[in-house]
Symmetry: C2
Subunit: 450 residues, 2 copies
């Protein structure tokens, strides 16, 4: 499996000179994203592509090959996999489609026979590739400029995965890895969990799942992984009709949703209710923080958002600390007389970034407080950019999880972009900030008993 | 009440020349946003402000006054309200704070005595003002460039309301009105509902609510309004702790949440679970469309998002139509052989905007289909900008509600901005598109039996 993420050399079987072709997109992505190993295009039609010498077959390459990326018509794939295996490649990434998903289960079986015979593992077929940013490996036909980070994204759906790849760039979400699983002929979620849980570059694993092959093994790997880092799953096919849609999409058996829920609960997997929620949670987890306890404090300059966050906390089981009189006095230093030192700590619309900084500092210093939620409504007195600087500094100075929600206009939008670039978990509504903190606390408490 | 939204003349009592002061911000906003009536600054310190002649008191203005905006210290407000009333103003917008919310219930009572005596209605006190875009009236100290549209936003929270005002600009959400309610000494949600339901410029009313004064009247006005146009409420203080937070914020009695739920249900009010959801719904309602029935169809180029949307439909009670063989044949004209003409209609990743257009056209033409959900995952073959053009055209050609979700990179983000500017309801995830459609169908069916 290590050859999938850390290959020293790659053969791109079916590399092409023609822009628009997948075999061209993958090769250029590998080259332009700055892969640090050696790359060999394979195609009998060319002598060179992108200034790289091109070989008629993988067997002709005068070097060892760790990883083979295969982008040729389905019929020819099994043999190519055999050749790559014979050449010593440990994993083949089969981009090509036209297998089980197109009614050709026979071709997929033949592919697996070659793989077994030549002792090579298969990712795919019917996928858009994989990306591993620590090694500058972008072997996908998606966008080139994936932002490095610590979220590993695993998708059973190709179209969704590749679209999300673009979305992460716009949203400034940093990825460690992006893996398309497709038909899961061989490598599946469980294999990836096994590898990713020990990957120091990955702090959270987000999986779009339609169905698993081996439930027991998935659970076991998920449990072992959840002890170390959070596993977030978007499980599609929750409902009767959703299951039918899954069957006609990837042919997976979605299975009883209640069974999945029980399995996730037992193995510590966090099940997100939507795509948005999954990425919201992953943003906080990518800070690599862990809650030391359940006591949470809300610091706000707006009463209304404070109430909305309070409601969300109660609904999601986030425990709001009742400040002692001593603690109240400390918070009161950062608010006008009509502010409220209770929780939510309302430093009022008169607060500048200085009062925010002071109140956040109190929350960081007090051992009784484990988690901090900061809410900001744009005002003329509190500059959102300066608040962003305060948040970034605060986040670096403590191992307590901190999240923020910011509401306002253009300048708030700039401040949020700045925070996102720095990996600070910021959200556009109080409810989304609270939901992320709830997931953090749930995982932090659960991992102790797994 | 008409004087609040359609005043022919406004006096700004406490207008100021000093940038940074609220009395300056409000006057300049009124002038610069292009108010179409007459404006009179009132302040004994100045002869003119912003090239407008300034008067020592409202009584000195040589013109009739419909609306008075009051921005002076709380202690002086009751008398000023009396003067404005004596001058014939029908409504006073009291921006000033320092009343009940600051422990000065006596001052608020005095304000009301003057109001009753001089027959003038009060909006506020303790608010950021009001904005009514059809008359280019921006009497707030918030951002200047509010985007005209058909959503009326009513907020009991000042900080939240003003922050959302900026947010609507960034998010290209068009507003008809924005009203800050603050302490609700006189004018409350029910009064606004009564006026807004007959306002041809408003197609949906969105209320941030902490508590109501007169539950029976609110329900009655909400029911009468819901027959004509949707009323969306974000009710804060749902939970025990949230109610406490409300009490310390605006002093409202949040009341039993179950009672509110029953009242909302009975009066046709749509209760949103979060800020985001409320605006998502409002975006669709601002198209002024009504569902003629419950039959919904999903058209997608990505199997995975189709499944996620299907799950969301089932969970939210959105009825997915089972296409007849005839209908399937029609859809099949716009997909490759491995596409699926069932619902979700999967035109596959090979679809261009032409196939989208064809499939959407089928859905528009067939009377059996009432509601259309379009899902797009970015691909190299389907240009998101061209798809946006298709969607805008389709939306104009039918009275059926259409929503879309688009996932992808920079170009998708551009296409979504384009759609938002055109008032097309587009969302970043399938779940949010479905939630909005569910609210549309719920309201459309409910209004018939109110």
């Amino acid at each position: 499996m290590d050859a999938l993420f850390n290959p020293r050399s790659i053969a791109v079987i079916g590399a092409s000179k023609t822009p628009g072709k997948i075999g061209h997109a993958i090769l250029t992505n590998i080259v332009k994203y700055g892969f640090r190993g050696r790359v060999y295009p394979v195609n009998p039609k060319y002598d060179e592509i992108e200034d790289l010498k091109c070989y008629p077959t993988v067997l002709d390459i005068p070097d060892e090959i760790d990883l083979a990326i295969i982008v040729i018509p389905a019929e020819q794939v099994p043999k190519a996999v055999g050749e790559a295996g014979a050449k010593g490649a440990k994993v083949a990434v089969v981009i090509s489609s036209g297998f089980k998903e197109a009614g050709r289960a026979d071709l997929e079986e033949s592919l697996l026979e070659y793989a077994r015979k030549y002792n090579i593992r298969i990712l795919g077929p019917n996928i858009f590739g994989l990306c591993y940013t620590p090694k500058r490996l972008n072997a996908t036909f998606g966008p080139q400029d994936v932002i490095p980070g610590s979220i590993a994204l695993v998708s059973q759906s190709g179209a969704l995965g590749i679209a999300l790849m673009g979305w992460t760039i716009v949203e400034k979400v940093g990825l460690s890895a992006l893996i398309s699983l497709g038909n899961k002929a061989d490598i599946d979620d469980a294999d990836l969990l096994e590898w990713l849980r020990d990957d120091p570059n990955t702090s959270v694993i987000l999986i779009y799942l339609e169905g698993v092959k081996d439930g027991r093994r998935f659970m076991e790997e998920a449990r072992k992984t959840s002890v170390k880092k959070p596993v977030i799953v978007i499980k599609a096919g929750k409902t009767r009709r959703g299951m039918q849609a899954v069957a006609s999409h990837t042919g997976s058996l979605a299975g009883m949703d209640s069974v999945y829920n029980a399995a996730f609960e037992q193995s510590g997997v966090l099940r997100a209710g939507s795509l948005e929620e999954a990425f919201d949670w992953a943003r906080l987890f990518s800070t690599k923080k862990v809650s030391k306890g359940e006591n949470t404090i809300i610091i706000t300059n707006g009463g209304g958002v404070g109430v909305l966050a309070t409601d969300a906390c109660e609904e999601l089981g986030v425990k709001l600390l009742d400040p002692t009189e001593d603690l109240k006095r400390e918070f009161m230093a950062y608010m006008p007389p009509f502010g409220s030192p209770r929780n939510p700590v309302d430093i009022t619309g008169q607060a500048t970034h200085v009062e925010f900084e002071g109140a956040i500092d109190v929350a960081i210093r007090k051992d009784i407080i484990n988690n901090i939620i900061v809410l900001y409504c744009q005002t003329a007195v509190a500059d959102p950019i300066k608040l962003a600087e305060v948040l970034i500094k605060a986040n670096k100075s403590t191992d307590k999880p901190i999240v923020a929600a910011m509401i306002g206009g253009e300048k708030v939008s700039e401040a949020m972009d700045m925070l996102k670039r720095e990996g600070f978990p910021v959200y556009p509504t109080p409810e989304r900030a609270v939901s992320s903190m709830a997931a953090m606390i749930k995982w932090s408490m659960k991992r102790r008993v797994l």
